[in-house]
């Protein structure tokens, strides 16, 4: 039933990449230090030299490097993104992860043999949308939006072939369809699609009100933490709001994605790659999560038993969800 399963792990820094590779990542994904990738944070990402070294290191250890250039090119300044594509190919990237249709077009024409993946930011959520990119541009793999149920993923994976499918299984959870969310742009002027950031730290502020801590994004209060309550990073879509007189986590509770229990099912329907979110996470976290998921995938590939308890423990003390993979979430 199972093709070769691939564990795709985040690398926010060169050190993080080494950690992920040594912990057993089959592939790591990373980006250049500019607005061409969707994790454009000050302390993250790779310069050109670091990227070449990272690819060499990964290849020595039998791992692949997927370079993400997955924001949308700025009008009048598309050269920055194209140069990124050229440099990523020259660095030896095993695949490029792209979202902008025109960048996909450029990459395919300028580098006919380069393997291309379609970023989750491209929001291809139907067999038809995938066929569009597969047939016109030879996309080899599509990262599926986190808006689909396992049943929908099964149908989609079957129809996408020979294009592979990759799904997120662990880490941060976008509640909105990725690549189609302007919430951060509306509140802060900084946009995931255009600048590669969401609810950026530069626009987050905290103030004390009595015994509680109030967190704002772009001046809008998104969360009020009571004394002793753990204060997570304030993201607009996981904030607490008032609607119809009720205060609630209207969009989503402050939870993260953990689809570990669905691994056998997802592999069973033909998903080949399993992605861990978190280029902004520390090395200790990456090491633990990657090792645990690698053991799980190895067990899946060889018909062994998955230690679900180990994987569940990864989110201990934190609430998690399988998100849209289960229909009732909707």
């Amino acid at each position: 039933m199972t093709a070769k399963l691939e564990l795709v792990c985040p690398a926010g820094t060169p050190a993080g990449l080494k950690t992920a590779v040594e912990a057993g990542a089959h592939s790591v994904y990373c980006g250049y230090r500019d607005e061409t990738n969707a994790r454009n944070f000050p302390g993250l990402n790779f310069d050109r030299g670091e990227m070449r070294e990272a690819v060499a290191f990964a290849h020595q250890h039998g791992a692949k490097v997927l370079i993400a250039l997955n924001t949308f090119m700025r009008a009048g300044a598309t050269d920055l993104w194209k140069r990124g594509v050229d440099d990523a190919v020259a660095a030896g990237a095993d695949a490029l992860i792209l979202a902008d249709i025109a960048l996909v077009d450029y990459a395919r024409k300028a580098h006919p043999k380069q393997r291309l993946h379609l970023s989750v930011q491209a929001a291809a959520a139907t067999p038809e949308a995938i066929a569009f990119y597969r047939d016109r541009f030879g996309i080899s793999r599509v990262v599926l939006p986190r808006v689909l149920t396992v049943e929908e993923i099964a149908r989609l994976t079957a129809q996408a072939a020979p294009c592979e499918t990759e799904v997120f299984v662990f880490g941060g959870l976008c509640v909105m369809a990725e690549g189609r969310c302007l919430l951060s742009s509306y509140a802060t002027g900084k946009s995931p699609n255009m600048t590669g950031v969401c609810s950026p730290p530069s626009h987050v502020s905290y103030r004390e009100e009595g015994s509680s801590l109030v967190a704002s994004v772009g001046g809008f209060t998104v969360e009020r933490f009571e004394a002793g309550e753990p204060a997570g990073y304030p993201t607009i879509c996981k904030g607490r709001y008032m609607a119809d007189g009720n205060v609630s986590h209207l969009f989503e509770d402050p939870v993260s994605l953990n689809a570990v229990e669905l691994l056998p099912k997802l592999a069973g329907v033909g998903v080949t790659a399993f992605k861990i979110e978190g280029r902004q996470r520390g090395r200790a976290y990456i090491d633990t999560v990657v090792r645990a998921f690698r053991r799980a995938l190895d067990a899946l590939s060889t018909g062994g038993k998955i230690d679900f308890e180990e994987l569940r423990a990864l989110t201990e003390g934190q609430r998690d969800t399988v998100g849209a993979y289960r229909k009732a979430w909707r």
Binding site: A102, A125, Y186, A187, C237
Partner: protein, 298 residues
């Protein structure tokens, strides 16, 4: 100055209005509104679509008799087989289609169509690609600043800008109207019907922020591109999109027609909009490269 005439497009009603209200709305639009084209169809939630199916043919007929070009807008986030099949059916039926997802673009297979504000077209090259795929007019994503629009609109006679209405900000698999009523999407009882401009969302300290329309989230503030009208025209923009809210949209169309024709000033248009019962303050932050919620200043 020999500036081209700006055309006006009425976007689809995004909210779940009762069918009688929906048909009455388009009846008045057909008879009275100075619009060049009218987009209609269920864009947000396929569960609402059967109600419109019963009246859509008559409504199209009415609009065409009123001299409007009629465009059928497709679902923005199709995921099920049935939702995609519905898009294919509308293409087969021969409607002029507004594509709001890449599935529609694939199904159109090069036929002439227009593109709505839900596709990610952020630069001149992506725009050129879509024009080559058969798009004759493209409504750009509402977050694009004027600077980007200027780099995209020149010379192609194809760019439309989101000029009025609550800006669509996000789509999700989850229905927040249902969630806020303690229900799931599959058993939603159509609770979204009670909110003509979406359900208002405020911060816990009472600051208005967003509006929820089923699986869709919009800005609370109402986009109004009145101050930028001349800059947009100079940039080569050929069309303005007015997105229906519960206020008098015939009046809104008249205000933008007069503004586009130079009969009124941006200040007068701003003031004329200001006296309408709008669901939120006027804003033009996106066009100015600022947070989208930023208030319009005249």
């Amino acid at each position: 100055m020999t500036a081209a005439r700006l055309s006006l497009t009425l976007g689809p009603v995004l909210y779940n209005w009762p069918v009688a209200r929906w048909t009455d709305f388009y009846g008045r639009i057909a008879d009275e509104a100075p619009l060049d084209r009218v987009c209609l169809g269920e864009v947000v939630c396929s569960k609402r679509k059967p109600f419109l199916d019963e009246v859509i043919l008559d409504t199209v007929d009415r609009l065409e008799r009123g001299g409007k070009e009629v465009v059928y807008s497709t679902l923005a986030l199709p995921t099920s087989k049935r939702e995609v099949r519905d898009i294919g059916d509308m293409i087969q039926a021969g409607y002029l289609i507004e594509a709001n997802d890449m599935a529609a673009v694939q199904l159109l297979n090069g036929r002439p169509h227009i593109v709505g504000p839900f596709l990610n077209i952020y630069n001149e090259e992506a725009l050129a690609l879509h024009l080559k795929l058969g798009a004759g007019r493209v409504c750009l994503p509402p977050e694009l600043p004027l600077e980007s629009i200027q780099a995209m609109a020149a010379g192609n006679q194809a760019v439309e800008v989101f000029a009025f209405g609550r800006p669509p900000l996000a789509l999700s698999a989850r229905c927040y109207a249902a969630r806020s009523h303690g229900m799931a999407k599959d058993a939603c009882q159509f609770v979204c019907e009670g909110y003509d401009d979406g359900m208002e969302v405020t911060t816990v300290d009472g600051t208005p922020f967003l509006a929820v329309n089923g699986i869709q989230t919009l800005g609370y503030a109402v986009t109004a591109a009145t101050q930028q009208i001349e800059a947009l025209r100079q940039a080569g923009v050929v069309s303005l999109r007015l997105s229906p809210q519960s206020c008098d949209m015939v009046r809104v169309a008249q205000i933008f027609r007069a503004l586009a024709d130079g009969v009124t000033t941006p200040k007068e248009a701003h003031e004329a909009l200001g006296v309408l019962p709008l669901p939120g303050p006027l804003s033009d932050g996106f066009l100015r490269g600022l947070p989208g919620c930023t208030a319009e200043v005249d």
